[in-house]
């Protein structure tokens, strides 16, 4: 059996995935907390205030990483969902459904920090601006996926239905985004792109560090949720019972 194939089968095995996640989670948390503390300390205390927005610009160090995460988690959820639907990978089903609440939480954080930032800079908590609106629609898409998943009595069936919905949403997200941008835009265009950035490095570096910390947070949270779900679904298996009663990791 080839190496790639073996790894693929290992991920399909609940006890292996449970143990592997249990081993990995502390490291993810460690990196997440270290990077998060470093990036936030740099961003909130050391980085210079904006010449126009003053100290309120520091909300950016939470707002922008959350906004990046809100979209990338949706993409990952849809990829997991695709694997679940096409290859019937149980672990992918679980991870797709575990991603939804995390992504929804990041979307909510983006909306809340954005509206708190909007008050001092735009003079209002909420405007029907393109990015705000598409972020709100994204939250509804997440809530739809979560609602559909929980509406089914059989968790597996619900996960597969919700995975299909997430794929439909993935096709629609660019269309929704561009239609809303075309409809009304007030928000500044993106400042950080692949070909460079219009943010000064003294503010960009802490931003990127917090963004990286957010990715590790997602990884740790995703694997923790996956472990709980694996235990729940395998509660009749010997390895799960042994772990719960004997504390064998």
């Amino acid at each position: 059996m080839s190496r790639a194939k073996r790894i693929f089968h290992q991920f399909g095995s609940p006890p292996w995935l449970f143990r592997f996640a249990g081993w990995l989670i502390p490291w993810l948390w460690l990196v997440c907390i270290a990077l998060g503390a470093w990036g936030l300390w740099w961003g909130l205390l050391i980085a210079p205030p904006d010449y126009l927005q003053g100290e309120s610009v520091r909300i950016m160090y939470l707002h922008v990483p959350s906004a990046w995460m809100s979209y990338s988690i949706y993409l990952l959820m849809a990829i997991f969902g695709f694997c679940a639907l096409v290859w019937h990978v149980r672990a992918a089903e679980i991870m797709a459904m575990a991603s939804a609440p995390i992504g929804a939480a990041f979307t909510l954080v983006t909306l809340v920090t954005g509206s708190l930032w909007g008050r001092p800079t735009w003079g209002t908590y909420w405007v029907w601006d393109a990015r705000l609106t598409s972020e709100l629609v994204l939250l509804f898409l997440y809530l739809g996926v979560m609602g559909l998943h929980s509406a089914f009595d059989e968790p597996r069936k619900g996960a597969r239905a919700a995975a299909l919905l997430s794929l439909v949403g993935l096709v629609n997200i660019p269309i929704i985004h561009y239609s809303v941008v075309w409809w009304n835009t007030l928000h500044q265009p993106g400042s950080v792109g692949v070909d460079g950035s219009s943010i000064h490095p003294s503010m960009l570096w802490p931003l990127l560090i917090v963004a990286l910390a957010a990715k590790f947070y997602y990884g740790a949270n995703l694997l923790s949720r996956t472990r709980v779900r694996l235990l729940e679904e395998n509660r009749h298996r010997r390895w799960a019972r042994a772990w719960v009663t004997g504390g064998i990791d």
Partner: protein
């Protein structure tokens, strides 16, 4: 699957729809009631009504579509005929396309036909009527196709109706934006071909992609 099977299916579904006339009329009555509430809510001033006319008519059309979607696969699912079609070996995607077509004929087309009346009620400015009818004619089939995905996903749930609206309204956002923008351009005597073109593009995309998603969702629900 050839037309030999699709046409009888189309005829059967239309006949069933005709036999359940009251059920069919309810979403349309709902549409009329919703639109008629707006003048009561915002006041009968012609200027105010003219300003919000297109938004009100389109949102009422979205609501009426979702109300009628809940029953799209329900009775076929409950009496087992959907399962029979699924195991018959015919392409479920084409069956889904026929179902969406029937839904549009009985729930979408009447909205298009009623829209001139709604335009008069809401005092839609003169130049906007053509654009309103055209945007509804191009937009409502897409609503039926996208909505059928949601209906197929929720058909095996007991209370799928409320969930259905949460699933499909976010998908309807681009259609609502394009359609209302077309009518606003028309009332301002601006060209609106671009918006109608994009609506038509959306319809073509939905026609090609949605049936596959509906078929996959139906297979999941029948598991």
């Amino acid at each position: 699957m050839s037309g030999r099977v699709l046409l009888p299916l189309l005829r059967r579904d239309l006949l069933l729809a005709y036999r359940r006339r009251t059920e069919l009329l309810l979403p349309l009555v709902f549409l009329l009631v919703v639109v008629s509430l707006f003048p009561l809510g915002v006041g009968p001033g012609p200027q105010v009504l003219a300003r919000i006319a297109v938004g009100v008519i389109w949102i009422a059309a979205l609501l009426a579509t979702v109300v009628s979607l809940d029953g799209l696969f329900r009775s076929d699912f409950e009496d087992g005929s959907l399962e029979q079609v699924a195991v018959s070996g015919h392409s479920l995607a084409r069956v889904a396309l026929v179902k969406a077509l029937v839904h549009w004929l009985v729930a979408g087309l009447p909205i298009v036909l009623l829209s001139p009346l709604l335009a008069i009620w809401m005092n839609l400015p003169e130049g906007g009527l053509g654009a309103l009818v055209a945007s509804l004619a191009l937009g409502t089939p897409t609503l039926s196709l996208l909505g059928a995905i949601g209906a197929a996903l929720t058909v095996s749930l007991n209370r799928g109706g409320q969930l259905l609206s949460l699933l499909v309204f976010p998908l309807y956002v681009p259609i609502l934006i394009l359609a209302t923008s077309a009518v606003s351009s028309a009332t301002d005597s601006l060209p609106y071909n671009g918006q109608l073109g994009l609506l038509a593009a959306g319809l073509v995309a939905a026609l090609t992609l949605a049936p596959m998603a509906i078929a996959a969702a139906l297979k999941l629900s029948l598991e």
